[in-house]
């Protein structure tokens, strides 16, 4: 079996398991005849998702559209995570619906909301996976086995999970209320929301990058407010002190705290909530039984939350490089321009620019060595930048597992933002990529380099 077919089978199976498990989970909330219209709403949403995914395969899809799909997956995770937290706090005694309670119970509102949530939840994953399978098919010599394998994986695992799920579904109502269902849906999205086959199974790196960006921005804004200047001006001691907060480890810990704190608060609140007996229970033995049943119920309803917490804490740091592992720092290869044109071959006997690693090149401009950086981004595009940023001295970048890292200030830059200007990102260069080479002009390189060296590029930051 070719690698492409195997990968397609895996993606089909993953999407099948996700879809059937999530549907079973939602249906466990919607049992009973009176909730049949809501079930139909979910099914209608799934049909829309299938149709949209097939339709997408017939359309020309740009890299920007792919980028939007990837961002939408992270967005949907965030929405479901925050909805689940709101619902958890509502369930544990903080009435957050208040006067909207009567409106929220109406079918006329519930049906469209459920339809939108179903489409919003499944559409980005299905669309992303469908596009990835189409990519695999185009790379394979025979596309049909790839499509068949993904379809087979999808159908078989839907059937398998549905059959298995029927046996365990009776347990679901004891474990999952609305908040727990929302949280589990968010967890499934986090753990299986990757749409790049074997290369990216989970959304964790993307969520980490998003949260670390928030932490970084909050710290940066605080520093701006308390008038901390750019770090080259600070003494080493001061920078070592304040720069600690910009390090990747600090960002990871702070983002983890941001993610788990509301859930920990919920668990504490959930178990500390006072027990109230119904007025009809007056015998002590009945009271004890009532208390026990409530405690059991609380424990069971906390299990999905505790499971979420355990999974997040276990996987959070495993995604990162082990401490002490050095950055990948390739030596720059000298290149020479042909007049104003600088053409760098995509594939040569010694390297392939599409291998996901950073590639550095050096050239001389007015007797000064200028370094370039070329890498393939997660969206498949090749991007070329100066090996320098707008803020720091031009020490350049190294590569960690999920980031390129500024060698001067150690700021991690997610791969998908390389090629975008601003902050500590490598300064992008106008590039034409053909099937054989990356084409740059000396004029562009020279202009940008002069700006870096003169510090004029910093004015855009300020």
């Amino acid at each position: 079996m070719s690698r492409f077919v195997l990968e397609a089978l895996f993606i089909g199976a993953k999407e099948g398991v996700k879809l059937s498990f999530c549907t079973l989970l939602v249906f466990s909330l919607l049992s009973g005849r009176e909730r049949l219209p809501l079930k139909r709403s979910v099914i209608a949403g799934l049909l829309v998702v299938f149709l949209a995914s097939f339709l997408l395969l017939t359309l020309p899809v740009t890299f920007e559209m792919r980028e939007i799909i990837v961002r939408m997956i992270g967005y949907v995770f965030g929405i479901f995570f925050f909805l689940s937290i709101g619902a958890l706090f509502h369930e544990s005694g903080t009435d957050i619906i208040g006067p909207f309670r009567s409106v929220g119970g109406k079918r006329v509102l519930q049906i469209p909301i459920l339809l939108v949530l179903t489409i919003g939840y499944f559409a980005p994953d299905m669309a992303g996976s469908a596009l990835f399978i189409a990519d695999l098919a185009s790379m394979a010599q025979a596309p049909m086995p790839v499509f068949l394998a993904s379809g087979l994986g999808f159908v078989l695992f839907i059937a398998g999970t549905a059959a298995l799920g029927r046996k365990v579904q009776p347990v679901f109502p004891r474990l999952f209320g609305l908040p727990q269902v929302l949280l589990t849906l968010a967890l499934i999205k986090l753990l299986a929301g990757g749409i790049r086959g074997f290369a990216e199974l989970t959304l964790i790196p993307a969520v980490q990058a998003g949260l670390m960006k928030l932490v970084h921005d909050v710290i940066h804004q605080t520093f701006v407010m308390i008038l901390v200047p750019d770090h080259p001006v600070l003494s080493t001691t001061t920078w070592n002190f304040v720069g600690f907060l910009f390090r990747e480890t600090a960002g990871l810990w702070l983002s983890l705290i941001l993610l788990v704190t509301p859930l920990v608060l919920f668990v504490i609140k959930h178990f500390r909530e006072p027990l109230r007996y119904p007025g009809s229970i007056d015998r002590p033995s009945q009271r004890r039984m009532f208390i026990r049943s409530i405690r059991d119920q609380r424990l069971l309803k906390s299990l999905p939350v505790l499971f979420f917490l355990a999974v997040i804490i276990m996987t959070w740091f495993s995604q990162q490089d082990a401490p002490g592992v050095s950055l990948y720092l390739p030596d720059p290869k000298p290149v020479a321009a042909d007049g104003d044109a600088l053409n760098i071959p995509i594939q040569s006997p010694t390297e392939d620019l599409r291998d996901g690693a950073i590639h550095k090149f050096s050239l001389l401009i007015r007797d000064e060595q200028v370094r370039l950086l070329i890498m393939k981004k997660p969206d498949g595009t090749l991007t070329a930048c100066l090996d320098a940023c707008e803020i720091c001295p031009p020490d350049g970048y190294g590569q960690s597992r999920e980031h390129v890292v500024c060698l001067y200030c150690k700021t991690p830059i997610p791969f998908d933002t390389v090629g975008k200007p601003g902050g500590c990102n490598p300064i992008p260069l106008p590039t034409v990529v053909t099937d054989k080479e990356v084409r740059l002009t000396m004029k562009d390189i020279s202009e940008k380099w002069v700006l870096v060296k003169s510090g004029a590029s910093k004015t855009t930051v300020k």
Binding site: G74, L227, V233, R366
Partner: protein
């Protein structure tokens, strides 16, 4: 009337309002972060310019303040807990209004590059300060190798007010000067330049250029001349010992790499520490450079409160958590 006021008060102090407002912020942040890269920066900008954002923030502020005051009142009966939680809660009480007021009331000026003798005028005010001296960030004579830091020291300056009082201003922390806070944002070297056409001096003075870290190229021109002058500081000499090498720099008499461009054509590239002839008529000479700094001048009465609130929050987190654990253990 009384019941309406009571209902408004109950609404303002409700936990539900906190949850909704935090949820609203998260929804905004998430949506903005997906479609734009600077979601938090945009929020801060909106907070100081958009009334809708200000309105929601003030609602959140009143909600949190009321809830914090109630919490402090509740804690008063158990003094130990009150004392342990006080720094964090007071820190939060101060932080939210200080942030809002600071963002909305702050007046900021970033001076152009200034050096000894220049005057700094406070924004929207009448206060003026003269720069008595600039404390350079670089040693005048230094030996530097490949991995050396950009600057040797934090730069600073001495200011003199009309009453003859002096103030020292560094890079961080900002120094109180009159009604303002000032600090140095960046430092640079301004070469002393003289352009001579025959015997006539076309220009003589200091030009603030970004020539650090050494090797940086910066450019200047003169409106009377059709040339662009690209300058960078190069080592006065290089010392080699085995495989190691280090460069010496004399900032009293730096050595420059000079490139002169006329109509996109390089007409001269050379090195000098004194003067260089550009064409038959024109000479570029250098004299001892001067140091320049860019100073940020901020008028913000709420900055000390903002800093104090951050300190209280940082200091208060550990005793707060300790108090929470203690109260839990006591309840058991």
């Amino acid at each position: 009337m009384k019941s309406i006021a009571a209902r408004i008060y109950a609404f303002l102090r409700s936990a539900a309002l906190t949850v909704w407002l935090v949820g609203l912020f998260l929804f905004y942040y998430l949506s903005m972060a997906v479609w734009s890269n600077e979601a938090f920066g945009m929020y801060i900008v909106h907070l100081s310019s958009n009334n809708l954002f200000r309105g929601f923030y003030l609602l959140f502020l009143s909600n949190v303040v009321l809830r914090l005051i109630e919490r402090l009142q509740r804690l008063w009966s158990t003094r130990a807990q009150f004392i342990l939680q006080l720094p964090l809660l007071v820190g939060l009480l101060l932080f939210l209004p200080a942030l809002f007021l600071s963002l909305n009331m702050r007046k900021t000026l970033r001076t152009p590059p200034v050096g000894m003798g220049d005057i700094i005028t406070v924004p929207h005010g009448t206060e003026k300060y003269q720069i008595q001296s600039v404390e350079p960030a670089l040693k005048k004579r230094s030996l530097r190798n490949e991995g050396a830091a950009v600057f040797d020291y934090e730069p600073g300056l001495m200011l003199l007010d009309p009453q003859g009082r002096t103030y020292r201003v560094g890079a961080f922390p900002p120094s109180p000067v009159g009604s303002t806070y000032m600090h140095v944002l960046t430092f640079g070297i301004g070469p002393g330049v003289e352009l001579k056409k025959g015997r006539e001096v076309v220009f003589r003075g200091y030009i603030a250029l970004q020539l650090t870290p050494f090797g940086n190229v910066d450019v200047f021109d003169n409106s009377d001349l059709p040339y662009k002058f690209y300058l960078s500081i190069i080592p006065n000499s290089t010392i080699r010992k085995g495989k190691e090498s280090a460069n010496t720099y004399d900032l009293e008499k730096p050595r420059y790499n000079v490139t002169v461009v006329k109509e996109e054509q390089t007409i001269l590239n050379g090195e000098t520490d004194s003067s260089i002839r550009i064409d038959e008529n024109l000479t570029l000479s250098f004299f001892t450079p001067s140091d320049w700094v860019i100073v940020e001048v901020v008028q913000d009465r709420f900055l000390p409160w903002f800093v104090l609130s951050i300190c209280l929050i940082c200091v208060g987190i550990v005793p707060f958590l300790f108090s929470m654990v203690m109260s839990k253990l006591r309840a058991k």
